[in-house]
């Protein structure tokens, strides 16, 4: 017995030595060099974006092109911010992303709670429906969603049958509603609520609390990390969204920053340095939000997406 244990221990130590020896092997060094190379290549577009945003008009067309700008041409940022409707687009983007985020937090957590912890007829059907809708390609629905948003009754001059007016086209409601709850969000919150032990709400129920009170006072506070993930993901997806705002708005004053950037780039007098300044300004908030919530986002993607 002891001899066997000793033998195993010796072999383990030998294996450990072999491993630590291997950690300095040429293969490891090449591997690490590849990793560094991949990281540099991945960063390249961002680095060019930032460096170009600080270049003057002449520098952009110089040959050979220099990676490092001669100086900091802050005027590009001023020009980007002074682009027609830029301020308006920022407000539109904030309202759209903020509205979509808040509604996702509220509606998905409520639905997820009901699916995870309540008993009611049809629960399995509803859950199967949510999982099934995860597979529906949202972008293939752009035509009917446009027509549905246009035909919402009593909105935008519509009669009760939904005809006659423009419905919710060119409104914040029209932009937010199609993204106000997602199958992914419901699924994620359901997965989270399923894992919380039942004891938490049983004691509250014994005290005579209602379902809503239990949800609001007991479970939501526990769900803060998951809500942070859902919030960041919802904000990111609405802030970055392009297709919905593109088809649901036709008026310039309802355009979001993403539409604005596209208009700025495709305009007749587009300047790459100003376009890159605008791209930098749009990209930064999302990256900062991610860096703040990083741990939660990665953990949340892990627990909701794969482990099921």
């Amino acid at each position: 017995m002891t001899a066997l244990a000793q033998h195993v221990a010796i072999e383990r130590r030998a294996a450990a030595r072999a491993r630590s020896f291997r950690s300095y092997s040429p293969a490891k060094i090449v591997g690490y060099a590849l990793l560094v190379f991949a990281a540099i290549m991945t960063m390249m577009p961002f680095l060019w974006m930032v460096s170009t945003s600080f270049k003057t008009d002449q520098e952009i067309f110089r040959f050979p092109l220099s990676f490092v700008p001669d100086g900091f041409e802050w005027q590009n940022y001023r020009d980007a911010l002074n682009a027609p409707d830029a301020g308006r687009q920022l407000i539109n983007s904030l309202i759209y992303a903020g509205g979509s985020t808040i509604s996702n937090l509220v509606f998905c957590s409520m639905a997820g709670y009901a699916l995870a912890r309540m008993q009611f007829a049809g629960r399995n059907i509803v859950f199967a429906l949510v999982v099934g809708l995860l597979m529906v390609p949202a972008q293939s629905q752009i035509v009917p969603v446009y027509l549905i948003v246009q035909k919402i009754p009593f909105a935008g001059g519509n009669d009760w049958l939904g005809s006659g007016g423009t419905g919710l086209l060119n409104t914040y409601w029209g932009m937010i509603l199609p993204t106000a709850a997602t199958p992914f969000g419901i699924f994620m919150m359901r997965q989270f609520f399923t894992r919380i032990p039942m004891e938490y709400e049983e004691s509250a129920r014994l005290d005579g609390a209602s379902s809503f009170t239990i949800f609001r006072r007991v479970l939501l506070p526990l769900a803060k990390p998951s809500l942070a993930v859902l919030g960041v993901l919802s904000f990111q997806s609405a802030w970055n969204e392009f297709v919905w705002p593109l088809i649901l708005t036709s008026q310039r004053d309802m355009a979001t920053l993403q539409l604005g950037l596209q208009l700025l780039q495709s305009g007749p007098d587009a300047r790459w340095n100003v376009v890159m300044a605008m791209a930098t300004l749009i990209t930064t908030p999302v990256i900062l939000a991610y860096l703040f919530a990083q741990r939660h986002v990665v953990d949340g993607a892990v627990s909701s997406g794969v482990k099921g």
């Binding site: 429906l129 035509v143 970055n240 990209t283 993607a301 997406g305 794969v306």
Partner: protein, 296 residues
């Protein structure tokens, strides 16, 4: 003891407030996904448009689609794009995940860097890449010229444009694959590796005989979400090529958008959307079957 029974078996207590909790989310899902899916199918049998009153046209839209060479090209382009993006994305994602699952110096920094493109908005990414690919003043051609190689019109040459878009999509997506693979790797018990190492298995054998098979369910999940996502490519094409040159980057969703909103042929667009939906469904079903065969 009654306490030892599972809560489910104690009694089924219908909780009516559950419907109130579900109602808002379900109304939104109905309006944004379920009704549109049904409406698409119905509309695909009509010639609905803003230009004239609507008529039922039966299968006319689908018959027209079969003969539509432009649509055929869009389908071929979409398949080319999807295959070109999906497999390299998964391979790179897996390599990055395996590399960063060990105690490598600076792995959090690497992870963050590889994930940054995922966070960037599609439009910002497309605008930046349009600049990188710019034929005269773009950094890529500048670097090529500096090395004495021939600069190329990346987005203006019909034989290059789609592949140029594929490279950009891989850059943008492999961080997603990496994050999901990292999660999958954490589920593989350490003893398995320990045992393989004690048996003296070389690293590449461990990778192909243990890591890859143990990740197969994650791979399947990724394959499905990547196919569903890349099949619907639109924004990058809208910004970078508008379907050109010579229709070489025209994909199904881009053509659908053009048909519906530029030519206001909503019925014909709906037929395209139905075909897109069924194709994605078919891919998912084929994927499921392959996975089942592997498990069995």
């Amino acid at each position: 003891m009654a306490f030892e029974q599972k809560p489910k078996e104690v009694s089924f207590q219908q909780n009516w407030s559950a419907y109130a909790f579900l109602a808002p989310a379900l109304v939104i899902l109905f309006m944004s996904l379920l009704l549109p899916a049904a409406a698409t199918l119905v509309m695909s049998f009509t010639d609905v448009s803003f230009l004239h009153p609507t008529n039922w046209v039966g299968f006319d839209n689908y018959i027209k689609l079969l003969a539509d060479e432009k649509f055929g090209q869009a389908v071929a382009n979409t398949i080319h794009y999807t295959l070109g993006v999906t497999f390299p994305t998964m391979a790179l994602g897996m390599l990055a995940a395996v590399a960063l699952n060990r105690k490598v110096p600076g792995r959090i920094a690497f992870r963050t860097i590889f994930y940054l493109p995922v966070l960037t908005s599609l439009i910002a990414a497309a605008v930046v890449w349009a600049y990188l690919y710019e034929p005269y003043a773009g950094p890529l051609n500048n670097a090529l010229a500096g090395l004495g190689l021939t600069p190329r019109p990346w987005l203006q040459d019909p034989s290059l444009a789609l592949n140029s878009l594929i490279v950009m999509a891989i850059w943008r997506d492999f961080g997603t694959a990496m994050i999901i693979y990292l999660a999958g790797l954490q589920d593989i018990p350490n003893d398995v590796y320990e045992a393989a190492r004690l048996d003296g298995a070389p690293p590449h054998k461990i990778f192909f005989r243990i890591t890859v098979p143990m990740l197969s369910s994650v791979t399947f999940y990724l394959l499905i979400i990547l196919i569903v996502q890349t099949f619907q490519v639109f924004g990058a094409i809208y910004v970078m090529t508008q379907g050109g040159p010579l229709g070489s980057t025209e994909t199904v969703v881009y053509q659908m958008y053009q048909t519906a909103f530029a030519h206001t042929e909503f019925g014909y667009g709906a037929a395209m959307s139905t075909v897109l939906f069924l194709t994605i469904l078919a891919f998912s079903l084929i994927g499921t079957r392959i996975m089942k065969r592997k498990d069995g």
